[in-house]
Symmetry: T
Subunit: 146 residues, 12 copies
Amino acid sequence: MSKSILVLNGPNLNLLGTRQPDIYGSKTLVDLQAECVEKGEALGYRVDFRQSNSEGTLVDWIHEARNRYAGVVLNAGAYTHTSIALMDAIASVGVPVIEVHISNIHQREDFRHVSYVSKAAMGMICGFGFYGYSMALDALVNHLRH
Amino acid sequence: MSKSILVLNGPNLNLLGTRQPDIYGSKTLVDLQAECVEKGEALGYRVDFRQSNSEGTLVDWIHEARNRYAGVVLNAGAYTHTSIALMDAIASVGVPVIEVHISNIHQREDFRHVSYVSKAAMGMICGFGFYGYSMALDALVNHLRH
Amino acid sequence: MSKSILVLNGPNLNLLGTRQPDIYGSKTLVDLQAECVEKGEALGYRVDFRQSNSEGTLVDWIHEARNRYAGVVLNAGAYTHTSIALMDAIASVGVPVIEVHISNIHQREDFRHVSYVSKAAMGMICGFGFYGYSMALDALVNHLRH
Amino acid sequence: MSKSILVLNGPNLNLLGTRQPDIYGSKTLVDLQAECVEKGEALGYRVDFRQSNSEGTLVDWIHEARNRYAGVVLNAGAYTHTSIALMDAIASVGVPVIEVHISNIHQREDFRHVSYVSKAAMGMICGFGFYGYSMALDALVNHLRH
Amino acid sequence: MSKSILVLNGPNLNLLGTRQPDIYGSKTLVDLQAECVEKGEALGYRVDFRQSNSEGTLVDWIHEARNRYAGVVLNAGAYTHTSIALMDAIASVGVPVIEVHISNIHQREDFRHVSYVSKAAMGMICGFGFYGYSMALDALVNHLRH
Amino acid sequence: MSKSILVLNGPNLNLLGTRQPDIYGSKTLVDLQAECVEKGEALGYRVDFRQSNSEGTLVDWIHEARNRYAGVVLNAGAYTHTSIALMDAIASVGVPVIEVHISNIHQREDFRHVSYVSKAAMGMICGFGFYGYSMALDALVNHLRH
Amino acid sequence: MSKSILVLNGPNLNLLGTRQPDIYGSKTLVDLQAECVEKGEALGYRVDFRQSNSEGTLVDWIHEARNRYAGVVLNAGAYTHTSIALMDAIASVGVPVIEVHISNIHQREDFRHVSYVSKAAMGMICGFGFYGYSMALDALVNHLRH
Amino acid sequence: MSKSILVLNGPNLNLLGTRQPDIYGSKTLVDLQAECVEKGEALGYRVDFRQSNSEGTLVDWIHEARNRYAGVVLNAGAYTHTSIALMDAIASVGVPVIEVHISNIHQREDFRHVSYVSKAAMGMICGFGFYGYSMALDALVNHLRH
Amino acid sequence: MSKSILVLNGPNLNLLGTRQPDIYGSKTLVDLQAECVEKGEALGYRVDFRQSNSEGTLVDWIHEARNRYAGVVLNAGAYTHTSIALMDAIASVGVPVIEVHISNIHQREDFRHVSYVSKAAMGMICGFGFYGYSMALDALVNHLRH
Amino acid sequence: MSKSILVLNGPNLNLLGTRQPDIYGSKTLVDLQAECVEKGEALGYRVDFRQSNSEGTLVDWIHEARNRYAGVVLNAGAYTHTSIALMDAIASVGVPVIEVHISNIHQREDFRHVSYVSKAAMGMICGFGFYGYSMALDALVNHLRH
Amino acid sequence: MSKSILVLNGPNLNLLGTRQPDIYGSKTLVDLQAECVEKGEALGYRVDFRQSNSEGTLVDWIHEARNRYAGVVLNAGAYTHTSIALMDAIASVGVPVIEVHISNIHQREDFRHVSYVSKAAMGMICGFGFYGYSMALDALVNHLRH
Amino acid sequence: MSKSILVLNGPNLNLLGTRQPDIYGSKTLVDLQAECVEKGEALGYRVDFRQSNSEGTLVDWIHEARNRYAGVVLNAGAYTHTSIALMDAIASVGVPVIEVHISNIHQREDFRHVSYVSKAAMGMICGFGFYGYSMALDALVNHLRH
């Protein structure tokens, strides 16, 4: 089995650290990438870390995981709440996908309480800031071991 | 009038044959393309067959049909249920567009019962598997003859 | 297997050609029957063609298909949107039923966007005028051949 | 033009006088028929007065009005609130149809506040008991004179 | 008992004849007043005819009917759909109030399908143009005689 | 008082034993009739047992119970969820009506959770298979004794 | 198998006979207990009869049925409409649970039309007063015999 | 501060002048660009004018405004009603964004009455045709001056 | 054509400058009037500026515009969201009406997201503070010139 | 600070004592005024007591409280449920406003369960008849003392 | 009649003074108890003051009021919005129950706007802090005197 | 700061291992407790592990955490979806609370998609089986260290 994990970030996450720091904190996407790579290494996995503002690109990348990655950690950002295409992609690829959100989306606007991603992902983690990504990697590797 | 028809496929349809075969069957997109081209030839039309996971690309392609294609057969996949942009594109191009779905979308989740594409397309065909594409080509050519 | 197909028409379709010609065209139910019989013959099937304004009679006729017809083409008219009894009948008879509508029901009033028939029928065709019946017969025979 | 008017009564109106007299009063359907015939005569019209518990029969009768009656007075009873088939029949026949209810349906259960008949009928009269039928005949004849 | 009837007209009805003639016709409020007074005289009643664009004034006038009028004919215009105050006024005055509308409100926008006035008025007449006022006066006097 | 009970069955129940046996079991309507007649005899009552696919016929039969039956056991099938006409018939006849369903309708599709019949029937029994009819007969006779 | 049945009563049922006698009758919970015990004896079962106003206690008692009772008759009172915990308990215990209500809950306030208990219980009986408990015991024993 | 303004146009606006001229007029996107550039010059600002059918590209462009433009005028077309990603982008960039629509979106289909863009944009202008863009540029510059 | 424009202000706008300055700013209605008059003069129009807390008075004033004003700028305040009477008045007067709001109403409570005024007004401007009135006057005059 | 309190009554309260005495009791508005004045005197405050059927007048009067009254006791009657204008007025005046209702509005029709006044008033008292006004005056003075 | 009043407090009210002081103030439940006892004495009644986090216990205590207390003052806390069991208990006990809330629940989250307690309690007081309890005791004693 | 963590389990979790093993797995609550204690020790914390079927007891235990525990891990089971009391308790105690669910609740019935607990808890973890508890303990300790 592949020893690589794909970490995907959706729209506006490239602005981390500059955007609404009261919600998302002041660290940047580069910081987050470093944390993920480091965590992956500790778990014995290589982490590929990407971000896109395009729904179609995120679908493409999830498809790419089919034969090349052991699993996916996905923060789909705003597309979480509107993209049936992402949900279908997750249901189609046959590798475990874990949903993560930096903030607790249930404490924000009503339209952020609905998640199409949750209908297909293995599990969901939200509200723990950047640390949620480490938790997701940890859970994914734990799952792969069983 | 153009003797070409554009057949467009939306997100995740590139995974046909590998994705949820209980719903979509085991034949692949390449098989489907072959069936469509063959059917087109039998009807006296060239078929251009494309697939994209990007909503914007599908909008672009529908626009492209304006002056170059006699009509469009569209399986918009998940964007069927969420894309007002696609609906507007169909309403704008001035060539007939026929909506097709492989499965009977009314027998799946509630959010698949709403179709923005249906509000602008000439007609809709669903539940007949790959054969629905042949039916759509047939109906389109029948329409063009009258 | 039976070589007969039952084509059923629901309420108000007896007025075809006189009723709202902008929606339904100017040809009559007799014209439609002729088209269906002719199409059936071309496909090697006898077509029985009926119309009723009564929900109960339509249920009776679907039951009748159980042992005597290879399949049913059903335009349930207004009962499409209100009749759970028809839906149950379709689910009970064990022969394929194809739903057809002359107009694209998704472009009319909201209450015509819900179809109980769709929850049980094999597939649905709408928006192609009388030609939709030929498409349905064609799809039914194609299905019976596989 | 025909000098006959068709007065149609829907389900359970045959029990008038015995059913829930606090809502519908104690006079019977025969009494109502007599009042309508008398009113019709005073207006110079013959009144045909019928009742059925079957939705399909009511649709049939409305169709019958097409070439044979100057107009229809319709109390569709419970079908008022559930029958799109009746609505379509009214929209198809090309003679004026006036909706009447004995009670004020807006003061009863919520599901009686919706009327499909109202979406196609010329006008509506409710809450005036049997006298509403006389008013409907009067309004119909007034309409026919203009 | 008083031999006077109060006919009340709500907002924008002063523009009758100039406003949306496809819906309301080309006769003016003065024409309507004349028709009502004449009809009243034929029935043996004096008709007081008023119009106001103010919800509060309409409430005041309904209160005024308490001791001085045999009944009220009310076309509350747009307040029909928004005014609980008018509904309460009708329920409080103890004289019969008949609701009338020139157009068939059930065939217009959804927000015109709800009537607070209907929850308290004796009966409702809609869709008969100006003639609906004559019908209402007739029904009111018929009611007063019984 | 009459010593006869009317047991009425609605649409598609004539297919019992052949239709969806996982929901309705494998015994037929004839079996059910035999059980009901036997149970009736044990309780000292004659049981008349009927089935119709027509809403209007069911309304007619409930009316028939007025002077000729001690009570009604009604499984209205799909009309349970759509027929205000049946509800009104039950409310009008003045004999006790008991609602019965073979399956537990609350565990099926959402549109089967609403029952117009329940708004007028004395009581409801569901989920006990054919035995529910015996329970209903038992409860009806117990009620008639008090 | 255990020859004991557990009959559970939810909140406010301890006030039977004193509370809203127009809905619940004038007999007390002690009377009901006696009827259930007697019925149980006639059926060859010991009946344990309990009441609690606490949701948690009712959940505990349903759990207790797992190894010690042949089945449960449950009138969950107001918790019927609000307790997912009770629903889960019923789904977990692996013994048949029959839902019973003294009144016909479908004829009361809207919030009493929803039952979480119905989503997990074998069947439901309502509207037959105290006799519904006897019916439930009878149905439970009939079920255990098959 | 930058002396450039970014004017962004969403899906299907490239078809202006050809698409539904009753709604959008007959002038083209090139005409609109010329008007905006000219207005910008009059106000002392350079106008960059772009159009894309891709939601992701529009998000990218809004991000681009962060350090390089004084503000954004945005007609998001159909994405107005479906894109939380665009809303988040606007909330993140820290430059003023003004929403503009050519038609009055409140007078079109219901699904065009909801605007995610409005939840984050400074203000909204709709219904004034192409002139709305000039108004938006004017308002933006007025805002920047204060 | 008249060279006068009517600027109308609805309920509570007389408290401008004292009421919720975080939403509405600290300038008063008198300041706003001065700005509007000045802007009107610059455009070659006389501006009549009024305020009322009464829905009926606002309807009266809109009617007054029929023959005496070239157009209306309307900030209907809270009546924006509740007044069908105002909507009807705007649709009746035959002069252009432009809707303006000081704040961006889409960023406030949900009940402020619905605007009856928008269903009839030519266009809408919101979120630009007092400057929105100048924009409205500008757009109105631009419209009158074409 | 002012030693005067304004007690305001909305539509139809002038009919107190004559209107629906089962809900509102048999004492009149004059009786209520006397009770309020007396209570005010006992508390050391002058009470101004008014009633209007006009929403606009009630808004005017609340504005009047700004500089001249220590607080307001408001029974807005039917406008409670429909008037955003009143809510805005309360939020704007900067003096405490206490909402009072004679009946318990939560036990009446559904549309009386929504209160716009409650969204801005300090507190609410309902269901205590006329005594609720005394309670409101008492609470207001208690509040002013702290 | 009993000279004792029962004051009941629901979940989390034991944390008063420590919990969200911006909403509930800084005084504790012990302070509140002292105020209630003192107020009771002034009114000639003994006050029993209790708190529980258990819905079942609150139901038990309301039952206890039946024969032993003159009335109940109830702050049901969060159970106000979810407990039909409490509503039923209040409707069953036959002593007056007054609902009180420290904050104005209509100005908090939507799910706090619904009160089952209000459907059965005599009256409701909210938004007056601890003083609301004194008002409730006062209103209760006033009620008992009449 | 305390070096103890409270792990709380809600209704029906005592049946783990016996209840619906397809959803919850076959390990028992005792197994889960062992895993949590072991994980706690590894993190340097003592874990107190409890289960209750009573909403009130869970509220009590959360209160207990105020001064005695460093944080809480809460699987509220069915109360997650119905208990505002639990939400208020979490918001009141001033220690971090982490919500955990064994299954992915978003893939089950609709009523399990709403979580009152999520509105107050720091973060949420679901879909990872028992391992979710370890993740929660890990996240809690990570949070306490920052």
